[in-house]
Symmetry: C2
Subunit: 127 residues, 2 copies
């Protein structure tokens, strides 16, 4: 159950980051995270055709960063925080790898210091 394969996760990440890699889309996401907006309302904010904005919304929707709900003739878009959090979590995982490197470097430093205490360059007195 909930069998999320590695490539599925990477596929989603591809979609997430690609969706966020456009400033118009990031701006749209900001707005729909702050509150619901119809596609035409959003479109009025940008110097491009309605169809172009509609495409951007579609990209965000496919990436799962936003959901649309129909009300009469309007399509109301709303940002999905959980998805944004997931992207953030991915970045945190990257940071964890870095922390692993640092602790490994610390270990190495400790080991070197104990085996040969004078290994640290003695020429570095002044400059």
């Amino acid at each position: 159950m909930a069998e999320t394969t590695k490539t599925e996760r990477e596929d989603r990440a591809d979609a997430w980051f690609h969706a966020l890699a456009d400033r118009t889309r990031r701006d749209i996401l900001r707005r729909v995270l702050a509150g619901e907006h119809s596609v035409s309302t959003l479109a009025r904010s940008y110097d491009m055709s309605f169809a172009a904005v509609q495409k951007h919304v579609a990209v965000l929707e496919k990436a799962g960063l936003l959901t649309k709900r129909r009300q009469g003739r309007e399509a109301l878009a709303s940002g999905d925080v959980e998805a944004v959090r997931s992207v953030g979590a991915m970045l945190t995982e990257l940071e964890a790898l870095w922390r692993g490197r640092v602790s490994r470097m610390d270990e190495l430093f400790a080991a070197e210091a104990s085996t040969s205490p004078t290994t640290t360059d003695p020429d570095t007195k002044k400059d």
Copy 2:
């Protein structure tokens, strides 16, 4: 000074997210965050030409997510955590917008409840 304009910030974000929107690049970033690797060492890990991997490294470098240092004939790549943190911070800012929406919704709910206490659906007793 350090006058960072709005578009400069957006330019960097474009580069960041675009760099992260490719799974090979994300994988390279993971490796170089965990420790220094030469470009050819990285290249051996992927089923593509050396030049292709070299290009991916260049994209990450231009985005500021990784730095290269020359040692002899090798180019050693190392991940930049600060940049990763900056990307994370951007996501956190998006989350903050959402929190703003929620508190505004809370206010609205409180106001509605005080003016017409029976507005809330009485059928919603159980779940």
